[in-house]
């Protein structure tokens, strides 16, 4: 602290020039070096965020008169969006989609797969065969994760078409993704995202030492109790981190869903924003491509996601106390 005060008054102090230069390099230079990064963050993160909030209070649009002479219109966009039955349906469906496909589907399936992957197989050839199967299953799940979303979306559309995979396997003689868009979205997203949760949980399970399980075993825990009281609390940290990430990803998912079910704006809020921003519909006061209204819708979702994440982080803090 004292040194710091000295430095700020470097002109008055009698410190030799070399010391001053050294101090400059040691203390001031690092701060200067941060500036470009801060500027970039400001330009690409903070500015768009602020701009989207600004825009949502105007009647700015991509085309039409309001593209050039836009003005400040207060909360009209927010009210219009919030009273739109399609937006309400989109929010409800977004939540259902996120909860069922990410929190239940991806996380649960990922956890189950991770536990199975970590299980010790029996000795002999059965064990060897299970090992090979595990490697293949792991690779397949992983492939689902690295396939581009557009490809995945169209693949699922093909699989769920009449005469496609679903017809061959389950005898569904209609276009599944047309009649049940929400279910189709959920299936595709579970398929796609399970690998991430699985990998995360595998790493978390790997970090639990074996002797903890043995202690629990000797203490009298059944396999289920071992999972419930030992495995589960010890990976709950990872579970929450996983929840945060997959919630954010699933909530913001666009490409996969768009390629699968198209611009059906009442099924997902991202599709709603897309339909708005591309100028297919919007409130009376803005021109085609009501970016301002779309920004309002996006900002509402931003606040919702932020609230969710804050909740998760709070839970995470509580959990982490023992670590």
């Amino acid at each position: 602290m004292e040194r710091w005060v000295n430095l700020s008054g470097a002109g008055k102090s009698a410190a030799p020039a070399s010391a001053r230069t050294a101090a400059l390099v040691e203390f001031t230079l690092p701060k200067l070096l941060i500036v470009p990064a801060l500027a970039l963050i400001g330009l690409f993160v903070v500015f768009p965020l602020v701009w989207s909030v600004v825009m949502s209070f105007t009647n700015y649009s991509m085309l039409g008169v309001t593209a050039r002479k836009w003005g400040f219109i207060g909360l009209k966009n927010y009210i219009w969006v919030l009273t739109d039955p399609d937006f309400q349906a989109a929010i409800a469906n977004s939540f259902i989609f996120t909860i069922v496909s990410a929190l239940i589907g991806q996380a649960l399936l990922g956890l189950a797969l991770a536990v199975v992957m970590r299980m010790k197989g029996p000795e002999g050839w059965v064990g060897a065969a299970t090992k090979v199967l595990k490697v293949i299953a792991g690779a397949l799940v992983f492939v689902a994760w690295i396939i581009p979303e557009v490809v995945a979306g169209y693949c699922w559309a093909a699989a769920m078409s009449r005469g496609g995979l679903f017809t061959a396997m389950f005898g569904i003689n209609y276009n599944f993704y047309v009649r049940h868009p929400l279910q189709a979205m959920i299936i595709a997203n579970i398929w796609r995202g399970t690998a991430f949760s699985m990998i995360l949980f595998m790493a978390a399970l790997e970090s639990i030492p074996n002797y903890i399980y043995e202690a629990a075993e000797v203490d009298g825990a059944t396999p289920w109790q071992r999972f419930r009281y030992v495995t589960f609390p010890l990976i709950s940290n990872a579970l929450l981190v996983d929840f945060i990430l997959i919630t954010v990803w699933t909530f913001g998912l666009f490409t996969l869903i768009f390629t699968l079910i198209g611009p059906q704006m009442d099924y997902m809020w991202t599709l709603y924003v897309y339909v708005l921003a591309t100028g297919r519909m919007g409130p009376p006061w803005t021109g085609p491509g009501p970016l301002s209204t779309a920004a309002a819708a996006a900002d509402i979702m931003f606040v919702i996601v932020l609230a969710l994440i804050t909740g998760y982080l709070y839970a995470l803090r509580r959990l982490r106390r023992w670590a």
Partner: protein
């Protein structure tokens, strides 16, 4: 530790509040100049919207004045750069014209350079052009979708061409509908460069199979429904004969997946014939209001409800990931017998090199790989195609007249040239080269598109194409969309409601009409709609 947690939550809350406050503050600051006075606004956007007579007059004055000046001004040594922005599909229309224009310019002593901005296939032209206009980087001469003219004109992006076309002898060769498409509130903003019409496509082989007359020309909506119902009763026979697993007599596009096509290919074809003009539209040009309810709207929704409810139309084709491809495929396979569609489908859809050529014709003409390549194969295929596929004019509700609707692309001048009379003159000159009879005829014949000029028929290469010649007759009674600002939203309401009908969520024409009216009110504002009396019989 609790202190730390409290701190971070507080930080997040404060950050959000700060962002919102900053947003409001910046918004206020930035919007101020526009709020100041109305006079500022009108001066800023001079040529926008219902332009007052005085403004037009001054504009005219400038133009005429500069016209006389051109000869002297252009002798400068510095070249004038004229930018033209267009999509790749119009390459063969624009490039030969540019050559001729440059030759003309040099022989007349103009030092001018044409810079081309060609937007390649694969990008959404209108999205790109829209953002170019919004950013002020659009070309001096631009080729745009004609239905964007009102929106662009209202935004002040387009320079009115009234004084140019007034003295342009070629203007007379454009049929009235082709003039109307590019006109907005009395001012001409562009010249059509290609167009299309819509009609009923039908399968001659299936009609014969079911004992229906070929050629077929329905006289009213009832004729269409009757034919469809008869075809439905023949479905098992047809499915067996063609080896298909499903069959639908009729297909009018519905739903949001089709986007604008639902409105233009499907709904408008009904609406325009559903009542007498001017009550057969979406917009009332007398009251300047969108029509929320009318007999015509009711009847059009009724047609959708009746045909979809009774299983005459396929539901899921409207929601598959590739609606266009599916539509062409199922018609080619015979899964759909009557289809409302565009004139381009003859070539693009089921032609010898189309997306879904007819299998029996491919076989017959020995075409391999799903395409005919040699000229003899193409000749053979085209003859064969005519045996399988026919087209009929869409009748009005009660058979009093024929109905079709046209779209197409137009060439416009960027309003930023308004203060540069010399460039403006040159831009217009370039347009006249592009839209010249021979250039248009050459291009349209090559691409199988309908030429918007009636005198194209005098050019042998165009006249030779019997199909084009035949459908060019449609231009006499063709109509256009009510593509005013707000049109896309109204169109979207139609897509939503027809989608609900197709899915079976709406099973009554009146419910559909009410839903439509609610949506339109939301989208354009309750003050901007009117309710006309509805006759439900």
């Amino acid at each position: 530790m609790p202190a730390e947690r409290g701190l971070s939550i507080a930080a997040i809350v404060i950050a959000i509040i700060a962002i919102i406050i900053a947003g409001i503050a910046i918004g206020q600051a930035m919007s101020k100049p526009h709020v100041l006075t109305k006079t500022v606004v009108t001066t800023v956007v001079k040529s926008a919207v219902p332009v007052t007579k005085t403004v037009v007059k001054t504009a005219t004055a400038t133009v005429t004045k500069t016209a006389t000046m051109t000869a002297t001004v252009t002798k400068t040594s510095k070249p004038i750069v004229l930018t033209i922005e267009y999509g790749e599909p119009w390459k063969d229309l624009v490039q030969p014209a540019i050559q001729k224009f440059e030759a003309w310019a040099s022989s007349h002593g103009y030092n001018v350079q044409v810079k081309q901005v060609m937007l390649p296939y694969g990008i959404n032209f209108m999205q790109r052009i829209s953002s170019d206009f919004a950013a002020g980087t659009a070309g001096d001469v631009v080729i745009i979708d004609s239905f964007m003219i009102p929106a662009f004109a209202k935004a002040g992006y387009l320079y009115p061409l009234d004084n140019f076309v007034k003295n342009w002898p070629d203007w007379q060769y454009y049929p009235e509908p082709m003039k109307k498409i590019v006109t907005w509130f009395g001012h001409v903003y562009g010249i059509m460069i290609d167009t299309d019409v819509r009609m009923l496509w039908y399968r001659k082989d299936i009609f014969k199979m079911c004992g229906l007359p070929v050629p077929w020309q329905p006289k009213s909506w009832q004729d269409i429904i009757k034919a469809a119902e008869k075809l439905k009763s023949c479905a098992p026979k047809i499915e067996k004969a063609l080896g298909i697993n499903e069959f639908y007599p009729l297909y009018f596009p519905a739903g949001t997946k089709w986007g604008e096509a639902t409105t233009m290919q499907g709904f408008y074809m009904l609406l325009l014939g559903a009542a007498k003009p001017p009550y057969n539209r979406l917009y009332d040009y007398k009251t300047h209001k969108w029509i929320c309810k009318s007999t015509a709207l009711y009847r059009s929704f009724w047609f959708y409800v009746y045909t979809y409810k009774n299983g005459l139309e396929p539901v899921s084709y409207n929601f598959v990931s590739n609606v266009w491809g599916t539509m062409r495929k199922v018609f080619s396979e015979g899964k759909v017998a009557i289809l409302v569609g565009g004139s381009w489908e003859w070539g693009e859809g089921w032609g010898p090199q189309g997306i879904a050529p007819l299998k029996p014709c491919l076989q017959k003409c020995g075409c391999t790989g799903g395409k005919c390549t040699t000229s003899s194969q193409i000749q053979c295929y085209t003859a064969c195609e005519a045996q399988y596929i026919g087209f009929a004019k869409m009748p009005s509700y009660n058979g009093s007249r024929w109905v079709t609707i046209s779209g197409g692309w137009a060439i416009v001048i960027n309003d930023k040239l308004a203060n540069n009379p010399e460039k403006l003159q040159l831009a217009w000159k370039l347009i006249t080269f592009i839209t010249s009879r021979d250039n248009e005829a050459q291009y349209c014949a090559k691409y199988g598109k309908i030429c918007p000029r009636s005198d194209c028929a005098e050019v042998p290469i165009y006249a030779k194409n019997t199909y084009l010649k035949e459908i060019s007759q449609f231009l006499k009674f063709t109509d256009f969309r009510d593509a005013l600002p707000g049109y896309t939203k109204v169109s979207y309401a139609i897509q939503q409601v027809t989608g609900m009908i197709a899915k079976g969520e709406i099973t009554n024409a009146m419910t559909a009409l009410n839903k439509y009216c609610d949506l339109v009110k939301r989208y354009v504002g309750a003050n901007n709609v009117e309710v006309l009396p509805v006759q439900t019989s």
